[in-house]
Symmetry: C2
Subunit: 313 residues, 2 copies
């Protein structure tokens, strides 16, 4: 049994999807599964939207817009504009092609399919062979609390209000359980990876489900830091750490956020000394910035190589 | 009180919408209301679609595609294609701009608005001043029965199966009642017009609601024939008449279908002799073919002029 027999990744959207894309090039598809955050999912204009699942799907299908960083390439926004003309709330950009995903998902869910089945069908249709497993088929919602606006859904906070306001707390609301597919992916795993995603809003919502945290603790677990120095490549993570963890944004905060189940933390070149966390994970460095698809593969191979050095006797 | 103080039109989609457009140019908007068929409405991919209301709305807003005869001008079908790729049923063409209408309608209905309120909001947003009143806010469905496929919804019959098969019957299913707005439009009417629409699937579903038929019988009522000779300008009417009314397709069949409440039937030049229906309506001729927007206004003015000759002492 090799360390890479069954690799299970926990992932959010953009950064996670890119790392997943690298892994999908580095490993055969029957050795890799992704458990994807659903805490960002929301209902908008009657449509069920799963941003992280879609970003992973589009990225693996080679359909993602690399420049914009979200949504589909060659996208258009004609329906979106018309929705605005008709008086609908257009805070969340919905492309014409992207709309098809949301309409199809909403239709399938209403017909009784589980989100897991919907994701499997979409992956098959778009030629994606790595299983993209929603963390749950049930409803879990990341709720953000700010001093100025009180509680609001994640997309309201991030997109409508551009993550503005004094952050007071993050909560995962709902009675959601991990799916049988998620439990299987964790239990069969020979290695668990945590993508360079936002711990608070991408990874913790997965860890909050049932005994996911305990199951991960049984396995070799490697996280890739989402920070370079004290800054996030994308998104509001750097401002969230001081507000939510009362500590400086940096690799040490990431190590603490994945305590005590994390065995190995991979940080950006030069960031290891900033961890300094006695009872924490082993820390290794490499270039974690993914500028282009080649970087994704390189990072995936680096992470697997470092994991092998650490975990293989 | 003049005959044209309050004109109420009963209308279906394409032909009805064009005649309505002519009337909207001929009469001030505060003297004209349209009661629009909802028997063709259906749910598709989770969206509430009201084809006749939309055709009337788009036509009056000057947004309709005149060449294709349905949907919006400068339409694109990117979401539609992608829906097909994702395995969705694409028998019914949904343009990107048109989708916005259906998404907004579905969202508004789910939020508790009546279809009447939704239609009013859309009209306001698109600058349409003539009230487009759905015949009902409740569900009425035109069901078609054929020898080959049994019962099916109207759109399945017309669009999916191209009106093929031996037609056995048409039925209007549902406990729908006319709205208060429809009853008001009928009761205040100084003249009721029936558009050159398909009697079976556009006008009869309106007449089937509550006591609409009796209310119309109290008023001067003028219908414009949807046939020229024995042929329909568009749609399956000519083949429906022999199957459903056991008579020849022609102006006489139209007179019979609006018996006994119709006072005046306007048929195409040369078609009057084919009526020959002793206890039927008065019959007058004019050029009823609407080739372009100018024809619509001309026909509306002709119809109003003939009605005035007949009903004004």
């Amino acid at each position: 049994m090799s360390l890479f027999d069954r690799v299970t990744l926990l992932s959010g959207g953009v950064g996670g999807a890119r790392f997943l894309d690298g892994l999908a090039r580095a490993l055969p598809s029957n050795r890799l599964k992704a458990i994807v955050n659903i805490g960002d999912d929301f209902e908008h204009l009657g449509l069920s939207i799963s941003p992280d699942l879609d970003t992973c799907l589009y990225t693996l299908a080679g359909l993602g817009d690399e420049t914009r960083g979200w949504g589909l390439r060659d996208e258009s926004f004609r329906a979106h504009e018309r929705l605005g003309l008709l008086g609908e709330d257009t805070f969340f950009m919905l492309g014409d092609l992207d709309l098809a995903t949301h309409i199809a998902r909403t239709r399938r869910l209403a017909s009784g399919e589980r989100l897991t089945e919907v994701s499997r069908a979409f992956a098959e249709r778009l030629g994606v062979r790595v299983p993209l497993l929603p963390a749950s088929d049930e409803r879990l919602r990341t709720i953000i609390r700010t001093k100025e606006r009180g509680e609001e859904g994640f997309q309201d906070w991030l997109v409508r209000h551009q993550a503005q306001g004094s952050l007071l707390g993050v909560e995962y609301r709902g009675e959601a359980r991990p799916t049988p597919e998620v439990i299987e992916a964790l239990d069969e795993a020979t290695l668990i990876l945590i993508a360079p995603s936002n711990p608070y809003v991408s990874i913790h919502p997965i860890l909050a489900l049932g005994d996911v945290r305990e199951r991960i603790a049984q396995k070799p677990c490697v996280a890739v830091s989402p920070l370079i120095g004290g800054a996030a490549v994308k998104g509001p993570l750097a401002q969230m750490i001081p507000a939510l963890s009362k500590t400086e944004a940096g690799a040490r905060a990431i190590a603490e956020l994945y305590e005590p189940f994390l065995d190995l933390l991979i940080v950006h070149s030069g960031d290891a000394p900033t961890v300094g966390f006695e009872r924490g994970p082993i820390v290794r460095e490499c270039d974690i910035l993914m500028r282009d698809p080649e970087d994704r593969l390189r990072l995936a191979l680096d992470v697997l190589r470092i994991a092998e050095e650490i975990f293989t006797p």
